[in-house]
C-alpha cells in the first residue's frame, strides 16, 4: 500500500469529505427540527454510516478510487467520533446518564452494524458477479 496520498486522490477525498460533512450537518438540522434530540440523531446517523460503510467494504474490493471516495471521503465525513465525545462533555447534569447510555449503545452496535453491512455487501457483489 502506498504511504503517500497523491494530489488527485486528496481532491477526491476532499470532495467526498465535504459532501459527507454537509450531509451530516443537514441531517442533524432536519432531525432536531422534527424534535429528535441531537444525541439520538447522531447515534442513528453514525450507525447508519457504519452499515453503509460495511456495505461498501463488502461489495467493492480494496485499493480502488471508488472505495477511497466513499469510505475515506463521504462516509468518513458523514460519521463522526468527535461530536459523540463532545455530546458527553457538554451534557448537563440531568442529561448525563441518558447521553452516556446512548454513547455506549453507539459504541457497542458500531461493529455489528458494520458486520451486517459487510455481509449484505458481499451478497450483493456475489449476486452481481454470479
Amino acid at each position: 500500500m502506498r504511504a503517500v496520498l497523491s494530489f488527485s486522490d486528496a481532491i477526491l477525498v476532499f470532495v467526498g469529505g465535504a459532501l459527507g460533512s454537509a450531509l451530516r450537518y443537514f441531517t442533524l438540522r432536519v432531525a432536531t427540527r422534527f424534535g429528535v434530540r441531537a444525541s439520538v440523531a447522531l447515534m442513528a446517523l453514525n450507525l447508519l454510516g457504519c452499515l453503509i460503510a460495511g456495505l461498501v467494504v463488502g461489495a467493492i474490493p480494496d485499493g480502488g478510487r471508488g472505495r477511497l471516495f466513499l469510505i475515506g471521503g463521504v462516509l468518513g465525513g458523514y460519521t463522526t467520533f468527535s461530536a459523540v465525545s463532545l455530546e458527553c462533555a457538554v451534557a448537563d447534569r440531568s442529561a448525563r446518564r441518558r447521553v452516556f447510555i446512548e454513547t455506549a449503545l453507539s459504541i457497542v452496535f458500531a461493529a455489528p452494524a458494520a458486520l451486517i453491512g459487510i455481509a449484505l455487501g458481499r451478497a450483493m457483489a456475489g449476486g452481481w458477479h454470479a
Binding site: 504511504a3 465535504a18 460495511g54 469510505i71 455489528p112
Partner: protein, 141 residues
Amino acid sequence: MKSTLVTFVASLVAATPPWLLVALGGGLGSVARVALGMSLGAVSAGWMVMTAINLFGSLLAGMLWEAVHRTPQVDRGRLSLAAFAITGFCGGFTTFSGFGVLTAELGQFAPFGMAVLTMSLGLAIAVGAAAIGSLCVRLAR
C-alpha cells in the same frame, strides 16, 4: 493594511453559510485523516491509527468548544469558527464508520480480545476525550 485584510476575511467568513464552512472543514479534516492513515498505516496497525485520530480529534473538539462557547458573548464569528473547526474539521477528521468497520474486521480476523480492546478504547475516548480537552483549556485560563 493588515487590519483591512483581517476585516475583509472576517466579513467573508461571516457571509459564508454555516453548511459551506462545515463542508470546507470536513473536506480538510477528511484529507488529513486519510493522509495520516496512509503514512502511519505503513508502520502501524489500522486500528491504532484510527484510535489515535479519534482521540486527538475529540480532544481538539473539546478544546475548541471551550474556547468558543465559554466566553461572555458568543458572536457570529465564533459560531462560524465552531462550524468550520468543530463540526467541519474535527467531525471530518474523526470517523465513526471507520471505527465500526475496523472493529468488525478485528472481530473477524484477529483474536476476539482485540475487538473488545478497540471497543473499550472507543468508549473511553467517546466519554472522556472532549471533556479532558475542554478541562485543559479551562485550567489554562
